[in-house]
Structure formats: C-alpha cells, structure tokens
C-alpha cells in the first residue's frame, strides 16, 4: 500500500442557483487572455442540454476516456500509443472552435466614432479570432435555463426522450457546474505524447508543463469531460489548475468555491492507495465503479492508514486535514456524493450530491402519508427529475446509487424537520437509510450551516517545502503567455 493525499471537491447540486459567478470569477482570474477567450475552466451547464463543448458526453463521437479491452485491461478509447503516433499529424477526435463557440467582442469604438446621424450608433459583434463582423449563433451558455434545448442534443438523455419531453408543466432542469475533475486515472495525462501533463504527487492536481507541451493536442481529445483546452495563440494546452497557487500553497479555497453564492462547494483532502488505482479503474461492471472508487478513499481515522501515510511522507497536518475533510464525509461517510460519469473510468475527484427535485405531485396527493417516516421515501421515486437521467450522469446508469443518496438526503430533511418541530430525535428515520442519528445531524450541519472553515479544509504548504515550491514556479511565461504581451503578428481586433 502506498498512501497518497489528494485534493477533492464536492458540489451540492441542490444548492446551485445557476448564477455563473464561479464561471465569471474563474474567467477573470485565469482565462481573460488572448487565445483563451473561448475557454472556461469552470462552466455551469443547464441539464438537460448539450453542454460545452456541444455534446461533450457523447464518447462514441469524441472517443475520450478509457474503456476495457477484451482481457479486461484499461485502454484509451481513442486508441493505443502506436495509433496515436501514426495519427499525430491530424487529430480526428479534436473539437474545433465551433464546437465550443467563436468568441466575440463588440465594436465599441463605433459608439464614440460614429458621425452624427438620426439613429443611435450600434456596436456590432466582431469575432475575437478574425476581427470580422459575425452573426451570433452560439455561445458559452446558449442553453441557459433550457433555452432552445432539445432532449436529442443531450447524450445523457438517450432513451429518455419521452420522460424529458414530458408534459409541459412537469418540465425540469438542474445546473451542473463543471471544472477539471483532477482524475485519479487521468486519460489526458495518458494521452499526452510529450509527457508534458502530470499529476502532482503531493496533492494529485493535474497540470500542464507549459514548457514541455508541443501542441500535439491529444490531451484535449483524450479528456472525456473536454476540460483540457488548446490555446491557439500560445499553441499550448491549458486547463483548470485548481487555483493551486492559493489552494495548496496558502490554504485558500479555489476562486470558484470562494465566490460561490449558493455555497455549494466543499474542498478537502482525501487519502488513497496509489497502488490500487489501476485495479479500481479496471472494475469490470460500470455500475460497480462508484462503489469501487468510494471504497478506495481510505479511512483517515484508521491507525493502519495513518501509520502508512506517515511512512509515505504525508505531512502531519495533511493527515489531520483528511480527518476533518468535509469531502470525505460527503463522499464516503454519509454516502451522498457521486462522481461525474464514472463510466469513463478516469476516477474523477470532483463529486456531486444529486439534486432533490419537486415531486410530481404533493406527497399527500400521491398517496403517501407525510407523517409516516418510511412512506416519505416512496416519494423519492416520484420526483420530477427522472432517476435514470441523474444516474446516467452521476452513476453510470445505476439508479440504486442515486436512489440511495436521495433517500439519505430526504431522511436528513425529515429528521431535522421533526427535530425542530417536536424536539424528538426520530432514530427510525436514520435506521431506515442505514445511518446513525448523529450522521444525519452531521449531514445537516455540513449541507446547511457549515461555515467557511468547515467547507474548505485545506492545509497550508509547509515552510520546509518553501524552496521546492519555488522551484516549481515557471509561470505561464513566454511570448503570449499570461502577463506577457500577445505574440507579434498574431493580429487581434483588426479594425475594418
């Protein structure tokens, strides 16, 4: 056993209000440069919907992530090493800019320069790539709040068209904020022919070495979540860096977490066994992947685990942080969080608490006794968002996992409601979902009242590691990189 520490994020979808504050603050911090105008390290999608880039979940088309070969061994879906080298002169699986959207700005100068006229001057849209006037037909969140969504555009909705189209008054939506999942078994890293992408052993973050990237672009197509982007100005791959400069080096939350209005995000440390990663990703049945990954999160209270972690040079305060980890609690202890598309076999480390949604009809109307603690759970099946749809996104289609998580959330709500109204601790409710009453109260505290220190438990970098951290500083420098002037000859915003 080799114990490693990993940073992990959990997002509680019930609390996401779709305000895009995370996306905007992330963009302001990291991708407001030339060449990454079209890039959103963090974006919020409305589900159902095709997403960003369009239909990213359709792996039959994009061929991202892993699959198992006939012997049950992991294989990149896009083909092996030899195949990559043979097709290195043109990547057939790479999304083009139109699959994301063509970035644009407006001809603001017109507002000032326009000669005196009867009508008001108009700032028309101009492409940020060519500088030419353009017709706006698609954008980063074009389908916000179901605008123009057809279920056929959503790969996760395959076979559910009737439920999704539903009756107009039963329509539903939820928001899915997405960042890089910093996977345990990242297919982008495995796809990079140059070896420019790597996982930091200290905290598991997946990063791109800007000096080593040679623009082969296989990381972009290799990531099934399409969360590695190509910067066409610097011609280097870029991706979410989990705000590492602040997170792991100063104990601060990522900017998407810190600015989240709904406080949906939880950050913390988990421990895992490096040697078990491959076996976990090779779990035969897709439906078992959630449980396999959950079991791989090691119990930081187990003295054996702690002893091994110390042996593997995990600093004391990191082990301590793993004990207080809110993400470990949500993912493993309370079992309410699920990984995004586990069937890609990348073992993502950003998990989601599935959304409870309004019932199709009132509990009483549907024939349930709202006073009977066990009957309340029957209502879970009658929720407006089809369980199968959520399971397609968060549990490789296994509705049992989603059902279990939703029942636990429902139990917590009912339990707390009874506690607050009657002062009684309804232990039967906890037992009905295989939990203890204290666990339900812990879940309530985490999900409802947790303060900043409880939601983000991130140890600071150790003083002794200061020099090593300094040696990592390479910046996104060079011409056209962050903080530098754009590459000469790469013209932008040409005036007509």
């Amino acid at each position: 056993m080799q114990v490693q520490a990993h940073l992990m994020m959990v997002m509680v979808l019930d609390k996401c209000l779709g305000c895009h504050t995370c996306s905007v603050t992330c963009k302001q911090a990291w991708t407001n440069r030339d060449g990454v105008d079209y890039v959103w390290f963090n974006n919020v999608e409305t589900k159902p919907g095709s997403g960003y880039p369009k239909r990213w979940e359709d792996q039959a088309h994009w061929r991202g992530g892993w699959k198992l070969d006939r012997r049950g061994r992991l294989k990149l879906r896009a083909g092996g090493r030899g195949q990559k080298l043979i097709t290195i002169f043109g990547n057939f699986d790479l999304p083009a800019i139109d699959d994301y959207y063509e970035p644009w700005t407006y001809d603001y100068a017109k507002l000032i320069d326009a000669p005196l006229a009867d009508g008001p001057p108009v700032a028309t849209a101009r492409s940020r790539i060519t500088g030419r006037p353009m017709d706006l037909r698609w954008g980063p969140n074009w389908e916000d709040n179901l605008a123009g969504v057809k279920p056929a555009d959503d790969p996760a909705a395959a076979g559910l068209e009737r439920e999704l189209l539903g009756r107009y008054e039963e329509v539903f939506l939820f928001y899915l904020p997405r960042i890089c999942n910093h996977c345990l078994n990242p297919s982008c890293v495995a796809s990079c022919p140059s070896g420019a992408m790597y996982k930091r052993a200290s905290d598991g973050l997946v990063l791109v070495d800007q000096d080593k990237c040679r623009a082969w672009r296989f990381c972009v197509s290799g990531c099934p979540y399409k969360k590695v982007y190509f910067n066409p100005v610097t011609t280097k791959a870029e991706k979410c860096i989990f705000c590492y400069a602040g997170v792991t080096e100063d104990g601060l939350p990522t900017i998407c977490s810190d600015t989240c209005v709904g406080r949906i995000r939880y950050l913390g440390v988990v421990l895992y066994d490096l040697e078990a990663v491959t076996a976990m990703a090779e779990t035969a049945e897709e439906a078992d992947l959630v449980e396999a990954q959950r079991q791989s999160l090691l119990d930081p209270h187990n003295p054996m685990v702690v002893k091994q972690a110390e042996k593997n040079n995990i600093p004391y305060d990191w082990i301590e942080a793993a004990r207080r980890s809110p993400v470990y609690a949500l993912a493993k202890d309370l079992r309410v969080a699920l990984p995004l598309h586990p069937e890609y076999r990348t073992l993502p480390m950003v998990w989601y608490v599935p959304p409870l949604s309004p019932l199709l009809s009132g509990i009483g109307e549907a024939g349930y006794d709202p006073e009977d603690p066990v009957e309340v759970f029957g209502a879970v099946d009658d929720m407006r968002i089809p369980m199968q749809y959520v399971a397609n996104i968060l549990a490789a289609g296994d509705t049992a996992q989603v059902d279990d998580a939703l029942r636990r959330l429902t139990a917590m709500r009912t339990y707390m409601r009874r506690l607050q109204l009657t002062g009684r601790r309804e232990v039967a409710l906890a037992q009905a979902v295989d939990m203890r009453a204290e666990q339900l109260e812990q879940m309530y505290r985490l999900l409802a009242v947790a303060s900043r220190e409880d939601r983000y438990v991130i140890p600071k970098a150790r003083f002794e590691a200061g020099a090593a951290l300094q040696s990592q500083f390479r910046g996104a420098g060079g011409r056209g990189g962050a903080g530098r002037s754009p590459r000469r000859g790469h013209r932008r915003e040409r005036r007509p």
């Binding site: 097709t87 083009a96 060519t130 052993a201 040696s471």
Partner: protein, 255 residues
Amino acid sequence: MNTKNAWELLLFVILPYVSLTIFLLGHIWRYRFDQFGWTSRSTQLYEKKLLLLGSPLFHYGTLLAIGGHALGLLIPASWTEAIGLTERPYNLLAEVAGTTSVVLIIIGLVVLTVRRAARDRVRQATTKLDLAAFSILWVMILLGFGQTVIFNLLGPGYDYRPTISVWMRGIFSLQPDVADLSGVPTLYMVHITMAWVYLALFPFTRFVHFWSMPVWYLSRPFVVYRRRRREALLSPGESKRWQTVGDPTRNERPR
C-alpha cells in the same frame, strides 16, 4: 581565382558552413531559451477538415523525402552495394520513393496552402516568419518536383551519388571539394543552395517540432507523476538563482 570560382566557393563551401553553424547554434539557443515557443503551432482548432486531409499527406511525404535524402547523400554507393543493393534496383527504389514523396508533398502542401490562404481564422494565425519559412519550403519543393519530372520521369534519371553526395560528405569530413560538383545540372545546384538557406532558418521556425517526435511515448508509463524536489530552504540571496540578478556583491557589503 576567377569569378566563377569565387561564387562556387561562396555557395558550396562558405554557405554550407555558415548555414550549419547557424543550424547548430540556433538549435542550442532556441532549446535553451525558448522551450515555451517550441511547438508545432497547430491551427487545428481553427480548421479541421482540410488539415486532416493535407497534413498527413504532407508529413508522411516529408518523412519519406528526408529518409531518401539521408540515404542518397550520406550513405556511399559502395555501402549500399555491399548489402546487395546494386545500381539498378537502387535507382528504381529511389525513383519510386522519390516520386511518391513528391506527389504526397505537393498534394498536401497545396491543400495546406489553400487552407492557410482561404480560411480567415488560419490566415490571421500566420506570422511573417511562417510566411518566410513556407515560401522557402515551396521553392525547394518545386525545385525537387522539377528534378523529379525532368530527370526521372521524362529523362533517363540523374545519378547524383558520384558527384553531389561525394561533395556533401566532404563537407562533413571538413574536406569540401567544389570540383566534385562539376557537371551537376543547374536545377540541382539551385535546390542545394535553397536547402542551405532553409537549414539556416530552420531552428527559428515552427519546423523545430521535427525534433520533438515523441517516440518515447511508446515506452513511458501512462500516468506521469511529479514529486517536489527536496531542496534545502535558502534565505534570499543565498540561492544561485538569485545571484544571477543584480549586483553579485550586494550581500558582501561591509556594515
């Protein structure tokens, strides 16, 4: 020394060494100081269809051409004969491979050039250096195309191995002899001269991605982990990294 000799000396002795020097030092400089700029400068994000057609044709044709040039120019005829490749089969091989590569390259390059000129998004990503590099590439390839057509397809073929190859190896053994080149058709001479100009430009262009062919990907572990180097923490001014900046004696001032 007559004028003709002076020109020959300039083009076939001095130019090669100047070019090779720039080629070598340029690469060292670029590798040392411009890792960030060392890429294939892909524009596939902007345009996919034409690239997927033209780029593989051009690259495979080029690899074939590079192999052919290395074989023809650097390996003496006596060596190929020693392994049983006599003149007739060698010439046949050279003609077939040469023609194939020229066809692949020309089709590929036409597609890529049309793509670069006709697609706004790709055109705006083209630098002046790109234009210079592509122009020289075009001239060289057209000359090579001309040689293939005039000498190999229409004519009986020109055997460059007793002349150009001998002179070329003379350059690498530091004994270049212009006399080896007597009787070489002008078309070849121009092609060679353009090649030296091209090589001198090579280290400063996107062509350096040729050296980044990631063959070690075949044997590498799939997932790469990086550990922090264990370094002792130094006070500011103690590290060599800092000493390269500013006054090196600044920490030694008397109180």
